[in-house]
Each structure stands twice: as structure tokens, then as C-alpha cells.
Symmetry: D2
Subunit: 155 residues, 4 copies
Amino acid sequence: MSSFEIFDKNYKTRVSSSFTRQPFMDLIGAELVDVQPGYCEIQLPYKKELSQQHGYFHGGVIGTIADNCGGYAAYSLLPEGTSILTVEYKINLVAPGNGERLIGRAKVIKPGRTLMISSTEIFVVSNGVEKLCATSLMTLMAMHGKSDQPESTKA
Amino acid sequence: MSSFEIFDKNYKTRVSSSFTRQPFMDLIGAELVDVQPGYCEIQLPYKKELSQQHGYFHGGVIGTIADNCGGYAAYSLLPEGTSILTVEYKINLVAPGNGERLIGRAKVIKPGRTLMISSTEIFVVSNGVEKLCATSLMTLMAMHGKSDQPESTKA
Amino acid sequence: MSSFEIFDKNYKTRVSSSFTRQPFMDLIGAELVDVQPGYCEIQLPYKKELSQQHGYFHGGVIGTIADNCGGYAAYSLLPEGTSILTVEYKINLVAPGNGERLIGRAKVIKPGRTLMISSTEIFVVSNGVEKLCATSLMTLMAMHGKSDQPESTKA
Amino acid sequence: MSSFEIFDKNYKTRVSSSFTRQPFMDLIGAELVDVQPGYCEIQLPYKKELSQQHGYFHGGVIGTIADNCGGYAAYSLLPEGTSILTVEYKINLVAPGNGERLIGRAKVIKPGRTLMISSTEIFVVSNGVEKLCATSLMTLMAMHGKSDQPESTKA
């Protein structure tokens, strides 16, 4: 995990700041739990508003955690002043999202200058026991020279 | 579009009832706009709570619409008393979700007794003009003999 | 189909020349049948050497046709002196490859300067009747300034 | 790796026999190297006939190894008299197939009664050094009561 080249020693602050600026993370109640070079963990406590017709975590919520987790794992490796774009992802839902919490853990499989590949596992925690709920493979593109921050907030 | 065999003539009511029972659709404000045999359209008006750090629709929101659209397109073809499960999907995000509304349109590519394949296109509407935002390919599994409704609501 | 901007009016020759320089196409017996801007059709007659344990076209062969078809559809839109790279693809096999011929037809869904998205349908022809066999979604990267031809053959 | 339930203690013979009955494996020269419960390794020595225009392993060949590897990892866990079907797979090509040998290693992520999910890594060996070349995620379906062997060979 520490084998990646670090271009920006402030990567933790940069990831955390970007995460905080996503209103959708606030709406669903997601928490950025851990960021390491090429690694990211996000957790999401259950609430009824996040569920589908059987009361489980909605597949779109599970996909959202996979998307963000994989994206920030890659973003942690980018130099400052660079933003990141999700090109595509594929997700397999292997068990119902039946539990009190989702945990997403992503790692970068291939860091490239332009393209990065991340792999994310999503676990559902039921009565304190983690169970694999989904697995995802994702392609991201680094946008060099394009800040993650909107113009207006750079003072 | 009308070439599919219809097993349940009440498919519209069944899809609509399932959609309504998803609290997550209510949280984000999604609207079920059209259901035909093997076809589904869902729309989602923009609100700031659905956005990522640049103010666009979050990728997880786009994936959610793709997931539900593709799922209900397939669900429309199932017989009564059957529920549906997302096995997996892949989504390519081809343009930023920058606009006042998302429109998802899904059609079933291959209806099977157990497995169904759907294809979904997501458009973002900006100043009234539709633009392709994402495209998705999805595998679903029919759960025969397993109702979409929770036991307690069947009276 | 004619809505794409054409950067190289010799695109047909360029695609055909690249196809011919792939020894694997020769090994399996694939034929480049049609190239239009953002479109490509490849056909492959059946022979026993291409089959799996039930005598049908092997899934790897079907994937190969999808990969090449989608790649050359995108390559047709690139300027001269540019090569193309498959970033990733996803393929759904929807019917057994049981027939006398495979036909792959790909079109570009999103042409970008760096990334291109193609969609490919693979049909299997049995007693002259085409049937959808597989559908694929693919991401490609343009390598500007990197010729498709090896150095030694440029004289 | 040994945590999987084994339904057929003759799984090695069964996988090996199925692999041998695939003429396409013979055409490309693939070798079944190792089978464990929920695990499969396939190797493929380089020959010019397997290459694309730059002389590297063709993407379709890499996809073929991923497809077969993931499929046989899942097939190893099935009971006798059952065959397996590739539903879909996604593959990311992360480095050129530039080397003297491909090695595919697949493991089952989720064994289900009907559906199974496999993950495959493909390495390219160059001057004896392994390098990650591709990574794949795959969905398979068990066909219970449908033998992998053609009728005519069951005597």
C-alpha cells in the first residue's frame, strides 16, 4: 500500500476537502474514514431513506459508495491542482445490502499518468459482522491542470 | 418495443407500486415517467443536494437512475409474484451531469426466464436540450415465486 | 452515422492496413467487411478450431471480434499518425455462438479527443438467420503522435 | 482458498477434461497449469500468430485467457453433471501484452447456487518477470442437470 509514489504530501487534506464539498455525501450521510496513498475507506450508516422496497440499502447507494471510494483512492495519488473524473465502472452486487452499515474499501490497481484503475469492495455490516456485498472495477482519468476546487472559492 | 411477450397485464401498476415503495427514490426526488413492456423512463430534477464538488449531478446519482431504470424495464416483463435482483451493471459516464434534469431510458436487450439484460441511456437536460450523459449495460435475475412486496403488506 | 467529424479521409485504408497487420486475425480467419466513420463490421466464418467444448464459437473468439470491431470503429475517427489502445470492455453473452458465422457491428457512442466509447453487437448466423449473440461496451484511448505502424516498416 | 465447499472430489479431472475438449485452446496453445477449489491458472506461451499489429499478445487473446480462467475457477466448485455458462465479463487492460508468456490466475469471489462471480488477473512475463497486464470481473451461471459433455461422448 505504501509502494505508490506520492506526488502531494497533503493528499489527506485534499481528499477530505473534496469529499466535504460533495453535497450528495451529506445527503446520504457518508463518512470518509481513512485515506492512504492509493487507498480509501468510506462508511455509511443505515437509515430508512437509503433503502429499496425490501428495506435494504438501495443498489444505487452501494454503487455511490463504490464510485466515491474508488475515485478518492486514485485522487490520493494525484499531484496538487489536478482533478479526477470517473470514466466508467462495473459493479457486481453479490449479497443484499441488509445491515446497519456499509463499508467501502478501495485500492488503486494501476496508477497511470492519465488513467488509473481502482478496485473496490463493499461490505455490509450486520450485527457487527462484515459480509462482502459488492465488488467493483473502475477506470478514472486525471485532469492535469484542472483544480478540483471551483474558481470562486480560490481566493 | 411491443415485441415482448407480456406475462402480466398489470405490469404498469406493479412497477409503479414497487418504485413508490423505494424510500431512496423519494429522498432524491426521482419520478417514474413511463413504463412499457421492456421499457422504462425515469426523470430526476436537479437539486443541490444531489451534486458533487463542481455542482453537477453526482456520478452515484447517475448510476442510481441507470440501475433503477434498467431494473424496472426488466421487471415490467416478469409474471406476477416475481421479484427482480440486480446482478451487476457497468456504466460509462460520457459527459458531466451538468443540467437541470436527468432522464434515464432503459430497454431490455435480452429477456430470459432467469437472466435479463437491459441497456440504459442517461441524458442530462441543459436549457431544455438533451445530451447523452451516460450509457449502461446491466444483468438482472428474476426471482420466481418471490414477491416484490414485503410479507407484512400483503393483506 | 455520417455525423462524425472526419480527421483523415484515408480512414478506410488506415483501418484496413492495421487489421491486416494483426496476425491473430489471420489465425482465426476474421474478415474486415465494412468501415464507415465511427462504424466497423467484422465477420468470422465458423471452423472447428474456434470452438469450445460444445462445438459453438468460443466466448474468447466472440470477445475478440467485439474488441476489434469496437476498436476499429473508434480508430476510423482518429487523425493520421495516431494509434489506439483498448482501455477496457464489458461483454454480455446473451445466446450461444451456435452457427456458421459471427458478425460484429460496432459504432462509436462518444468520440472524445483522448477517450472514445464504442458499442458493439455480435450476431451469430445460423442457417442464414442473424441472432443477437453478445453485446459489448468499450472504452478506448487515442495515442496522439504514436503511429499504429512499427518504426521499421516506415520507409 | 480451501474455504470453499467441494461438491465433486473429481473436480480436477472434470476441469481438465473440459479444457481438453475446447479446440480453441489447442489452436492458441493454452496450458491448464493448476486447478484448486475455486481457483484456476492457465498459461499461454507467445507465438507470432497470437499478436496484434505491434507484435504484442492480442487483446482478444488476453480476454480469452481471462474468460477461461474465471470460468474454470467457478466450474471447479460445481457438482458433477453440471455445466457452466459465461454470463458476462469486464476486463481492464492495464499494460501491453509484451512478453514471452501470459499467466492467468482466477479465483471465485462469490459462489452461489445459480450465479458465481470470479476475479481474474492476467500477468505478462517478460524476461522472466511477471507484470500485471489485465484484470477482469466475471459472472457465470451454473446449468444444473446439463452435462458439460456432449451427448454422443457419454457412453
